[in-house]
């Protein structure tokens, strides 16, 4: 991380260490591909093993602006450690540059993040929903998406006890 700050000082917004000792860096969205490329290709670092991508909707957290945080985990087989990156994006413009040219594994994780949070990845070759179906409206892991807001493709049989188990959204 020190090397990233030294190499690309304009890219790093903030750095901190979480309670368990994990080092984090908040990266400016525009500079993300550059930082990832540096982490991957620097002979000292070699963060080549692709971990995962996901997002956090900070709507109900104390610090909620900008609303979304996209998190990236990479692993270095040389240094035997993870690197944790964060990119903050606002609700109005949830766009992050894609990492697919750099990591093949980013493809599906970015689709997952798009599917569940509605964060668009600029330059992604095939940004479709991955787990949900194309007809689905909205992005279910956003905090303002109701837990029981169901969108069945085939009508569900209404079940009287709607508190638990399958059934309609409880409105009808």
């Amino acid at each position: 991380m020190d090397r990233v700050s030294a190499q690309l000082p304009e890219a790093v917004v903030e750095r901190y260490v979480d309670r368990t000792g994990g080092a984090w860096a908040v990266i400016h969205a525009d500079h993300l591909p550059k930082v990832a490329a540096f982490l991957k290709n620097d002979p000292e670092l070699q963060f080549k093993l692709f971990g995962s991508i996901d997002a956090v909707d900070r709507l109900h957290l104390a610090e909620s602006d900008p609303r979304f945080e996209v998190v990236y985990f990479l692993y270095s087989l040389k240094r035997h450690e993870h690197v944790r990156l964060k990119v903050r994006v606002s609700e109005n413009q949830p766009v992050v540059p894609t990492l697919t040219p750099l990591f093949k594994g980013a493809n599906w994780w970015e689709r997952l993040t798009w599917d569940f949070y509605g964060i668009r990845f600029d330059g992604h070759p095939d940004l479709r929903r991955i787990l949900l179906y194309e007809e689905f409206q909205g992005h279910p892991l956003r905090k303002d998406y109701a837990l029981r807001d169901r969108q069945p493709l085939i009508p569900e049989r209404p079940i009287k006890d709607i508190f638990r188990g399958p059934g309609t959204s409880g409105l009808s």
């Binding site: 368990t20 093993l49 109900h60 594994g105 179906y133």
Partner: protein
């Protein structure tokens, strides 16, 4: 195929290229592109994956895995229940090795709290994990044998797996969905005489594994179908985020149990098998050897397991002992608060990973301090593995798809959350 058969470095010559072949048998058949649909419920797609396969003859031109049929809203569900109530959801991620998911999740939560669990609990977690690593690999190897046309290896694998399920049921009360362990340790101790039973099971299991090995490893049909098919090189595998046996089959020596030992893995003597070619056969061999290493770990763990408490003595995290609940007001209060409000995990975030049977099972957990997870991200090892299937199989034969799909051992539950 006529377009593909022609050499392109000179102008096409109808007398030599497409029309006149030395033998009629060598001539390319006229084929046309065909899209077939494999799954969602196909015997060879374990779980429910739909594969849209575009074929030309028997060659796969394009493949598009469509996943999500088992999506259950794992993350959303976890965000709306207490930390302990998440545990049954984690069972259903990798339902073949549920205990590893349980313990992986608990490990991450304990890390977020900053909690050290008792030594005996750590041993029990290692034992449980390795038992379920065995069941997972047995299912994978057995099913691979089955789909290559050999029924016997599958039955042998299932016999051992049944024995292990019986031991699991004695330990946890359930065969598959164990929900075993609690934040801070383990919820029940090993039953009496259980260790002896496990030893007997392992003795029988070793025989069964040897028999599976003898039936498959040098079997001509099996070797022909698996050797040299489904190859992924180490560089691509890393790029896709392969971990676990699939990565080790490519020759990359990465196992979290060795590189960043958690619980008491550093006390045991075991080897990490590493393959060479990254093909189906190597993945199969790596799994076979890992089972033997798991048995080694289990034997050592059972020999050296210390006595002592199995859960932390902190009533804010673990339920108080029953006599305290019934006898003292403090006990009742702690019990009530834990059940009604859940464990109060302090605000913060953590990324932590353990080595599950298919690779790195990573958890990114955010807590806002309100007694419920704010975010539970799971990095399922099967997800990147499945993501690479188009890369592996495009341009290969349709028949290679089945062994490849077997040996990568994608589990629908964890991939589709």
């Amino acid at each position: 195929m006529s377009d593909h058969g022609k050499p392109t470095d000179h102008a096409p010559n109808p007398d030599t290229d497409a029309y006149a072949h030395e033998s009629e048998l060598e001539a390319h058949l006229q084929t046309k592109r065909m899209v077939i649909n494999m799954g969602p419920s196909h015997p060879a797609t374990h779980g429910t994956v739909r594969l849209k396969v575009e074929l030309e003859g028997e060659t796969i031109i394009k493949i598009d895995p469509e996943i999500g049929f088992l999506h259950r809203g794992f993350q959303k569900s976890c965000e709306n229940v207490t930390w302990t109530q998440c545990l049954p959801y984690t069972d259903r991620l990798n339902y073949i090795s549920a205990m590893m998911n349980n313990f992986g999740f608990l490990n991450a939560v304990e890390k977020l709290i900053g909690l050290e669990i008792p030594e005996r609990a750590q041993y029990i977690r290692v034992i449980g994990s390795e038992l379920h690593r065995l069941t997972d690999h047995l299912t994978c190897v057995g099913a691979t044998g089955l789909e290559m046309g050999g029924f016997q290896p599958f039955l042998l694998g299932l016999e051992f797996r049944e024995l292990l399920h019986d031991r699991t049921a004695e330990l946890t009360g359930a065969r598959l969905t164990t929900s075993f362990g609690r934040v801070g340790g383990i919820n029940r101790d090993l039953p009496e005489g259980w260790i002896e039973k496990v030893r007997k099971t392992l003795d029988r299991g070793e025989e069964l594994i040897t028999e599976m090995d003898a039936l498959l490893t040098r079997n001509r049909i099996f070797v022909d179908r698996t050797k040299g098919t489904g190859i992924i090189n180490a560089e691509d595998a890393i790029d896709f985020g392969y971990t676990g046996p699939a990565l080790r089959a490519c020759g990359v020596d990465y196992d979290i149990r060795k590189t960043k030992p958690y619980w008491v893995y550093d006390r045991f003597d075991f080897d990490i098998p590493v393959g060479e070619h990254g093909d189906n056969y190597d993945r199969y061999l790596v799994r076979l050897e890992e089972m033997r290493q798991s048995i080694r770990i289990l034997r050592q763990a059972m020999d050296t397991i210390p006595a002592g408490p199995i859960i932390v003595d902190d009533w804010r995290i673990a339920l108080p002992p029953k006599p305290e609940v019934y006898g003292t007001i403090e006990g009742v209060m702690s019990h009530f608060k834990l059940v009604m409000e859940g464990i109060q995990v302090p605000p913060g975030e953590v990324y932590d990973s353990t080595e599950a049977s298919n690779g790195e099972l990573g958890w990114y957990i955010v807590s806002d301090g309100r007694g419920r997870p704010y975010k539970v991200h799971v990095r399922a090892p099967g997800f990147p593995v499945l993501a690479a299937v188009p890369h592996i199989i495009e341009g290969k034969m349709l028949a290679d798809l089945i062994p490849t799909f077997d040996t990568i051992n994608m589990i629908g539950g964890e991939v589709e959350q």
